[in-house]
């Protein structure tokens, strides 16, 4: 036992600081939750209306069978990559700076995955028959078709959702134990259950660490497969401009891009609201800024490779889509998207000084996510709107009901996250302590 006492002495303060969101709640929080609940209720109402009257409440029509719901599905899956990437990849690479970021990113993963699943249901024409998708023995003696990329997707997302829940839960056990000992009332009971008898013995620590060590590479592999399969949903189709080999890796990188953007937003907001400046420092923003720069470049490289191939090949089917993007019906959103996810992040993030400006980074995160949302729409809609039979060319813009559901679901995601913040320490307490210890030792 050679450690200097400082980190041990700091522990009460760390406990206090990081548990305080769980213990004290301001009226602004209630207001925020109230407002979000209203939006969620509106969204739920819109969905109910859509189920009652028909999926025609969307603006979809042939040949554009997929629209904002699937775009949102892809987008939210992308967001879900934040947690896994930050905690998984950075844990694998032993990046110490990850510590205050992992928990809030993992929370995002879980929330985003919940929301993602919802979009599948919004999208179904007959959602009340969703159980046809579940592989279980039934009187029809009929199973789902696993040859469909959608079943790959369902399997992958189920795996991913289960794994991420496990992955956020495991490091939470010591923190739940901590909360169990410090919070009274019904929550104590819940924390008690969730802490599954944690008492901090070395045997427990060792088991926990080993489990995390095993699961981390696995979940990174799942993460990559999940978004690859989401990419496969498109690239397996014969639709011009979908049928592309680069889609799987491109989707993975794109997901990380928007995921990181979302982490920056979350990090900034939580730091501000819960005054976590001591734990979340400029250094973290700078590191995330660097990562964002890398994903920007990587994504731009892939996108360029893809579009260049189309342009040089001049295959008319594909050109029809590209033309509609470059100067056709979708030019405005296309160029807006290009500036949001490539140009603006690139010209700002290359400046080291900019990367040390949390507000600026938060703005970039917002811009990137806005851009990525449009990018998801542009991946789905223009290729569908330009089928090979030009007689069927068409346009699409989401309807009001779609917007209500999209906004409602965004509100739901924020609401779930806000509620989770009240239940789960947003920074992993023991990992933070461990990080401090490591820092002091070196």
């Amino acid at each position: 036992m050679t450690d200097r006492p400082t980190v041990w002495e700091e522990m009460p303060k760390i406990n206090r600081d990081l548990l305080s969101p769980l213990q004290t709640t301001t009226w602004t929080y209630y207001l925020w939750v109230g407002v979000l609940s209203c939006f969620v209720a509106a969204g739920a109402g819109a969905w109910t209306y859509q189920i009652q009257t028909g999926i025609g409440q969307t603006d979809l029509h042939h040949p554009i069978f997929w629209g904002s719901y699937i775009a949102s599905f892809v987008f939210w899956i992308g967001v879900s990559h934040s947690g896994t990437f930050i905690s998984g990849v950075l844990r694998l690479t032993n990046a110490e700076w990850r510590r205050p970021v992992t928990r809030m990113a993992e929370l995002m993963t879980v929330v985003a995955l919940l929301v993602t699943t919802l979009f599948v249901f919004y999208h179904l024409g007959r959602v009340w028959r969703f159980y046809y998708l579940i592989p279980y023995p039934n009187q029809r003696e009929l199973w789902p078709n696993f040859r469909s990329p959608l079943m790959w997707d369902a399997t992958a997302i189920f795996t991913y959702a289960t794994a991420s829940t496990i992955y956020i839960y495991l490091p939470l056990i010591p923190d739940f134990a901590l909360a169990r000992d410090r919070i009274q009332g019904w929550r104590k009971t819940v924390y008690g259950w969730l802490a599954i008898g944690w008492h901090g013995s070395q045997a427990q620590w060792r088991t926990l660490e080993m489990a995390i060590r095993i699961i981390t590479p696995l979940i990174v592999m799942v993460m990559i497969s999940v978004h690859s399969i989401v990419g496969f949903d498109f690239s397996m189709a014969l639709v011009p401009a979908w049928h592309s080999t680069i889609f799987a890796p491109y989707f993975v990188v794109g997901a990380v891009h928007s995921g990181l953007g979302m982490v920056v937003i979350g990090l900034y907001t939580l730091r501000r609201v819960y005054r976590l400046h001591e734990y979340v420092r400029t250094e973290h923003f700078e590191k995330l800024g660097k990562l964002l720069l890398v994903t920007t470049l990587l994504l731009a490289y892939m996108y360029f490779a893809e579009q260049l191939t189309v342009w040089y090949g001049q295959v008319p089917d594909h050109m029809a889509v590209q033309n509609s993007l470059l100067y056709g019906a979708y030019a405005v959103p296309f160029w807006f998207m290009v500036s949001c996810i490539y140009i603006i992040p690139l010209v700002t993030l290359v400046w080291p000084r900019f990367r040390q400006w949390p507000v600026g980074l938060m703005m970039i995160g917002l811009i990137i996510n806005l851009g990525m949302y449009i990018e998801r729409m542009l991946i789905i809609v223009p290729p569908l709107a330009r089928p090979r039979l030009s007689f069927q060319w068409d346009e699409y813009f989401p309807s009001l009901i779609e917007f209500a559901i999209l906004v409602g679901t965004l509100a739901l995601a924020l609401l779930l996250y806000s509620l989770a913040v009240k239940f789960v320490p947003v920074i992993s307490i023991w990992e933070e302590k461990l990080g401090k210890k490591h820092a002091q030792e070196h």
Binding site: H62, P63, P144, V239, F391
Partner: protein
């Protein structure tokens, strides 16, 4: 029923079934009169979409006449292309369905089982011919229009994909009649509604496994081509090119 060994060889894929239903569209005969469109609506209980839905691009047609312009005034031409489900042998729409609502029958039909469909609409995206149509809402017929509905075809509810079936109900009853007499279906005995109504006889339907059927003969025409052949979907619909000098 004499079987041409070569034809059998060629269609060994479907040899499990005695029939392989195919259609020929003679573009040199097609006048674009759209009798087939109404015939299809009447036979297959296709919903009336109404003005609003039609304006949203949601009017349902299992067979539609596409019109393409060529040239400018005064040397302008309008050319018609009847497009229905091509019943591809290697249909892109089939494998993407997560619940087997879309699959291939042993007789070479691209089937859609309405009650199995949950409306993910992937098949619709993946059909290069935009042949698949979706019920965005529950259908509605002002009374007593519903009296006309064909009891041999189910009425599709909202949220379900549908498309041309080659009038499978007619194929089914034709086969039953032949089966009861212990024989094969004769050429021309089964006609889908569109084929039946076509004034210029631009549409021909028959069994590809019967080497003497009209379809088998016409398929060999030098005018023949498939829509988007290069996609490798192997459609069961053969088009015969319109002649022009």
């Amino acid at each position: 029923m004499s079987q041409d060994p070569q034809a059998t060889e060629e269609y060994s894929k479907t040899a499990a079934s005695p029939y392989k239903w195919e259609m020929v569209v003679d573009l040199d005969r097609c006048s674009g009169c759209e009798a087939c469109v109404v015939a299809c609506h009447a036979e297959n209980n296709i919903r009336i979409s109404g003005e609003e839905e039609a304006a949203e691009g949601r009017a349902i047609n299992w067979i539609r006449i596409e019109r393409y312009w060529e040239g400018d005034y005064p040397n302008v031409k309008a050319k018609f292309l009847p497009v229905m489900c091509q019943h591809c042998d290697d249909a892109p729409c089939e494998p993407v369905c997560p619940v087997y609502a879309s699959y291939h029958t042993p007789e070479g039909l691209n089937a859609q089982v309405y009650n199995r469909c949950i409306g993910v609409r992937y098949c619709g995206n993946n059909c290069p011919y935009v042949a698949r149509q979706f019920n965005w809402f529950d259908p509605h017929w002002d009374e007593p229009l519903a009296e006309q509905l064909n009891p041999d075809v189910s009425v599709r509810s909202g949220g379900v994909m549908e498309k041309c079936t080659f009038c499978v109900q007619r194929i089914r009853s034709g086969k039953e009649a032949a089966h009861k007499e212990g024989r094969r279906v004769r050429d021309g005995e089964i006609t889908p509604a569109c084929v039946q109504s076509c004034p210029t006889s631009a549409l021909i339907f028959g069994d590809r496994n019967d080497p003497d059927s009209r379809v088998s003969h016409l398929k060999k025409s030098r005018r023949g081509f498939h829509l988007m052949e290069s996609l490798g979907t192997h459609p069961a619909v053969t088009y015969l090119r319109r002649l022009s000098e």
